[in-house]
Amino acid sequence: MKTTTIVSVVDIVAALAEGNLDGNLYLMDTNRLNGSRDQGSARLKTAVGKGDRLIWVARMLECEADLSIVGIGIDSSVGEPSEHYYPGTNVTYWEVVVKEELRDHESIPYCLEYKLVGTEIMATPKPADVIRSPCLVGVKG
């Protein structure tokens, strides 16, 4: 089973100052060599195939500013997100196993919801759209 990791980095101070994630969220994944695009932006397009295991983790930019993912909204026919704790800790990751093969270059937008500094909830665009949101994209072969 292939695993792709999708990492979120948020400039938390800027996001809190501006009241939203626009321009303050950076998404990167480990599947660039297989077709993922728009690395380092909030519109990351992650190349996926049926059966792939996707793991989302969050990392803070500054040590003292806490960040966690609290929700992933995606078409349930593509995958059902679940939250997991690293054993013995209160740090979480989110997992989706891709249920179906996407058509070549088909885009499935999804929404990421974060908790910043333990209290503030902020999310990528709702409803998710293919232009402004992170997406899973089908890449044949």
Binding site: T5, Y26, I55, L61, C63
Partner: protein, 214 residues
């Protein structure tokens, strides 16, 4: 006021090793985009640093570099999570979800975090930044980080080169006790831009150009 500036280098270690370069496989993110840093999130970062004096006093600016492997479990995990009896001192024998790997599963092991071993280049040669490697009881990256003080009397744009060591597992991957870690060294260039006034709008340079023409 002393300001702590963070520059995080996120490296796709597996892709960098496969393609033999950091080009496209490193993302630099700083927390000074509000001041005008450009290329944030890409490999082409210019960090803007405000060295304006306030009441005649230079502001002590400190740059901190942190390096993460994209494939690694998050550094916010407690250090005990990575302890020797929990998957190796560096956590290299666990997968991204923290599962301890055994036998032939070891091909899924996360590569060790890359090390930043040296910072060199124009910004150092010209006495603009003075970096050093520190170890602290900090919980992330085993407490290793690089930090630099910035010379406020040198406005301008300067490049610097980050020297990384990347690790990949070698030997009998079916046996945890037979794995040895081989290294590959790679470099990446970035820039700093020291400005003398808060660069809060994009037209800050216009006034200077006007004066040249008058």
């Amino acid at each position: 006021m002393t300001q702590q500036l963070a520059i995080v280098a996120m490296i796709d270690v597996v892709a960098a090793l496969q393609s033999g370069t950091l080009e496209g496989n490193i993302h630099l993110i700083d927390n000074n985009k509000w001041l005008g840093s450009s290329g944030v999130g890409s490999g082409n970062l210019t960090t803007v640093i405000d060295v304006a004096r306030v009441n005649g006093l230079a502001q002590a600016q400190v740059l901190n570099w942190l390096v993460y492997g994209l494939e690694r479990p998050p550094p916010s995990l407690p250090q005990s999570f990575f302890s020797k009896n929990n998957g190796g001192q560096h956590g290299e024998l666990m997968d991204i979800s923290g599962k301890i790997l055994e036998g032939n599963e070891l091909s899924q092991a996360c590569p060790r975090s890359p090390d930043l071993t040296k910072i060199s280049g124009e910004a150092l040669d010209k006495g603009v930044i003075y970096p050093a490697r520190y170890a602290s009881p900090n919980l992330v990256n085993e407490g290793i980080y690089w930090s630099a003080v910035v010379n406020p009397d040198k406005p301008g744009i300067y490049s610097y080169t980050l020297h990384f060591t990347l690790y990949y597992p070698d030997g009998d991957r079916g046996r945890a006790d037979k794995i040895t870690w081989k290294t590959v060294d790679m470099t990446h260039r970035a820039r700093i831009k020291l400005v003398n006034s808060p660069y809060k709008n994009g037209f800050a340079m216009v006034g200077e150009r006007w004066q040249v023409g008058q």
